[in-house]
Amino acid sequence: MYRLFVLLTILIFAAPSAAGDTFAPKDLKDLYFGETLYYAFQGDWFDAIARLDTELTQHHGLDEPERDTLYYHIGHAEFAVGDFELAYRMHQRAGRAITAVIEGNVEEPVRNEAIFRLARIYFQKDQPVNALYAVERISGVVPPNILDDLAFLRAQILMANGRFAEAVRILRDLQDAESLEGFSTYNLGIALLKDGKELEGRQYLDSTGRINSNDALTLAIKDKSNLVLGFKLLKENKFEGAKLVLDRVRLKGPFSNRALLGSGWADAFQGRFERALVPWSTLMTREVTNASVQEAMLAVPYAYGKLNVQSRAAVMYGSALEKFDAEVDKLGASIKSIREGHFLRALVREELKQDANWVVKLRKLPQTPETYYLLELMASHDFQEFLKNYLDLEQLRKKLEAWEGDLDAFKEIIEQRRAYFQPLLPAIDREFRRLDSQMRLRLEQRDRIEQRLKSMLVAPRPDYLATSNERISSEQIALLEQKLSTGGTAVPSGIEARIKRLRGVLHWHIYTEYDQRFTEAHEHLLELNKEVDRLKRQYTAFVRTRQAATQSYEGYDDIIRRQRFLIRQAREKVGELMARQGHMLETMAVNVLTTRRERLAEFQIKARFAMADNYDRATRTQTQEKMGR
């Protein structure tokens, strides 16, 4: 059942799906860009766009963007954002992003690929004129990997604009494209039919219906082609040909029920009711909710009636009636369930999203409608678009709800930081100011020493490099000399000689060791420089930490208030849109179920009438037989 659903979805567009063509660069320089790709590759388009938007905004806000790592991938990133937006069904923004690439200074292949994507957006959004205008702007070199897809899209756009002859010319050239096997011939057949070339169109539909392939999609388009051609022949009363074509449809494919029904009618119209019973009887054993199966329930007894087995026909009509009654009740309950909102609630259940077979699971949930009746609807383009929008809105609703909680947490963090830092900071600032003035003083001293050493390179000053002991000794000698000379008496010659000798010794040391001392002084200055650097680093780190402390709780109030307002506004809007989109989904589902119920009600009347008629005939036959005996 799931395969049927998937194939129906794909075949509605009669072309392979093509969303999200992004790839990772071979040499990734910007990890944050890689992160957006990580989300995109998982189909998490919201996070991929949100992060890439942030990255691009930051990149474009830089003074020197060429120094940013995103610079290496900027073309790729600009392209990717359009792709992500397209995959997230934001066609307006995707269109703008891709148009920006087209109008930018890009190489011809890149530009052409961008136009191709833009044309595809217009085509998907049911804007064939815009799509045609876009695709006609493509000229010059086209990347080889999109050549076939581009030609196929061009043909589809031309068909949508009613220009079938031109589409035919393009599709003829695509007949060898392996990736489009089945799709190109099928579309060529349809284009030829629409162009009035009936015979040739049928030939292409016929050849599509004979394709040998193992590919599920190709086999599905093959079945579809046979079904279209078969019913066309049926309408034209070419029953033999119709039967042949319809019997080519696989018995397990998504179109098998309709093909079996049509095949039976092809026999019945030729009066071959026994042969008609073969496909119809097979059909009757299938899922009772299917429209073709329900029709077969009337067709089989109809055939038996025609074969004069009225008693069996009457019994089968009776059995069909019972099933129709049950189905009508089921449909009534399903309509009620949808109107009570169970359908929408079931569609957004998380466990269904985890399961690829979710459509089948959905019907098993309590109080949900019978989804088998809704399979075709659910596979239809409109429903899929509505459903995706509804699920996206639900995702937005959940995000917005969570963000409100985040803002509460942010607010609490800020308050806690304020409560912690505010009382501490005045004392810290006082201590910092004291240390700061000390530091400045020491730095000035160091600068003076450096200046002095520099000047000593030009004019040597050994006395500057005297040790503290030498300075003390020199001062003591000077003091002695002063004392000895103050009384007006002559200094004894022995003492004077000793003083001179002492001064000489001092002088000797200071002048002979000058070079070594000068070298050592430089070495010490270098060591001091290291310490000063460390001090400066600590100083900078402290200043930064001090700033960070204030910044950790100040300046957020306005941002948080603004965010809260925006979130509240968005939540209201999302709620309103969900209600409208949900109502559309419910209306579509209820309409389908109502139509099916009305049809079944007609079948009930027909079955009752036919049952009575067959009982009559059977009784009459029995009476005649008795009378005959």
Partner: protein
């Protein structure tokens, strides 16, 4: 009865030739208008998300203490990644178990930010443990230790995983 049969067949034929327009009861303009409004609200919410991302980063991970650890797979690797554990200075900071979808995203060249946090400037010990299955299906567990130096700006580290090695790339 025959008229009914013709009706059924023509009905089916129409259904086959063009899938029914189920939304035909709802005016096209209304559908288009609603679709555009959904696109607009998506755009608005994306704007909020971008601002919130910036606010979160500024508030929780200021650049002077921020460290971000990314995980990537070496191109062409055939091993299956089950989980990654990150220890920073001996403390477990991230333990991630991969779904198939996430693993596929890594294989395609996506990069996962496994951890964002705050550390002081200076040298730090980073330990990475990987659990997975080799291309031949055998279980394996690998652990590597690295030294990470945090400077003034945000620290960005890439851990590149292969079946044979765990490599740290300082970014």
């Amino acid at each position: 009865m025959f008229c009914w049969l013709r009706g059924v067949i023509l009905g089916i034929s129409v259904l086959v030739l063009s899938f029914a327009a189920y939304a035909q009861e709802i005016p096209r303009e209304q559908i288009k208008g609603l679709d555009e409004q959904v696109q607009e609200i998506k755009s608005d919410v994306l704007g909020i998300a971008a601002e919130l991302n910036q606010l979160e980063e500024k508030l929780l991970y200021p650049s002077n203490t921020q460290i971000a650890v990314f995980v990537s797979l070496v191109s062409g690797e055939t091993f299956r990644l089950d989980s990654v554990e990150i220890y920073l200075d001996g403390k477990p900071v991230a333990h991630y178990i991969y779904t198939f979808k996430e693993f596929e995203a890594l294989q395609k060249g996506g990069v996962q930010r496994i951890y964002t946090g705050n550390i002081r400037a200076g040298d730090h010990d980073l330990q990475v443990s990987v659990i997975g299955k080799s291309g031949e299906g055998a279980d394996f567990r690998k652990t590597e230790r690295f030294k990470v130096n945090k400077d003034v700006g945000p620290k960005i580290v890439e851990i590149s995983l292969a079946a044979q090695s765990i490599t740290l790339k300082d970014r």
